[in-house]
Amino acid sequence: MTQTIRVNYYAQLREALKTASEEVAVELPARERDILERLAALHPRQRDLFLASRVAVDEGYVNAQSLLDGLSGVDIISPISGG
């Protein structure tokens, strides 16, 4: 089922996309990789960055194997560099 979710961006992805947030229609249920591929298709110039990113929901990374459903929004955690 196609559902519209809010997608939040940070750091290098936010800067590259020139937005901190957007609404995107995605097919659910979906795995982490499906969501990243969907966003990469929308923003093909940032494909490498999306595919090196992780998806977070409710302040935690999703399990790469899990089927995600009933989402209202996700955070896209582009490659991190804390410490």
Partner: protein, 162 residues
């Protein structure tokens, strides 16, 4: 112990204050790890500052979880962590990790585990600022669980997918 919301700090980090948080009469070893702004990184020289941003609520939650896990795995007395946000000048601390333990082996292992896991898991980003004011996001690595293997190899770098 300070509230976990204090883990991320917009103000300069205070080594002695964090050291005091892990004081414990049963501790025979205290290790203070300090990440500092250095003048270069891979392929980049003339760095004068770093600028940090974070997914704050998630980073606090993830770091607090890492501390809980490490406390469960290694018999330490106390652990305290502070990570900077915003602009940090050359030579200044970007992160402090204080660990106290009865014996030094536990202090070293816990300290190393905490910094490795924060670097691999916490949603924090830095930009390297050059003399001319221009900034470049650090290449970074895909967030993932730091494995024992990586911690042991002590040279975990680059991308690893879980």
């Amino acid at each position: 112990m300070a509230p976990i919301a204090d883990i991320l700090s917009a103000a300069a980090l205070d080594r002695e204050a964090l050291r005091a948080e892990v004081s414990d009469p049963a501790a025979g070893a205290v290790l203070l790890f300090e990440g500092t702004v250095r003048d270069h990184s891979e392929g980049l020289t003339g760095v004068v500052a770093l600028e940090y941003e974070a997914h704050v609520s998630m980073a606090v939650r993830i770091i607090a979880g890492i501390l809980e896990e490490v406390r469960g795995e290694i018999p330490v007395r106390k652990i305290a962590v502070r990570h900077r946000l915003g602009r940090v000048e050359l030579g200044e601390p970007t992160i402090l990790i204080a660990v106290s333990a009865a014996h030094r082996d536990e202090a070293y292992r816990a300290s190393r585990a905490v910094i490795d896991r924060i670097k691999h898991e916490a949603p924090i980003w830095k930009r390297e600022i050059l003399r001319d004011g221009s900034g470049t996001w650090s290449k970074g690595c895909t967030a993932h669980r730091a494995t024992e293997e990586e911690v042991k190899s002590q040279s975990a770098k680059g991308k690893v997918q879980i």
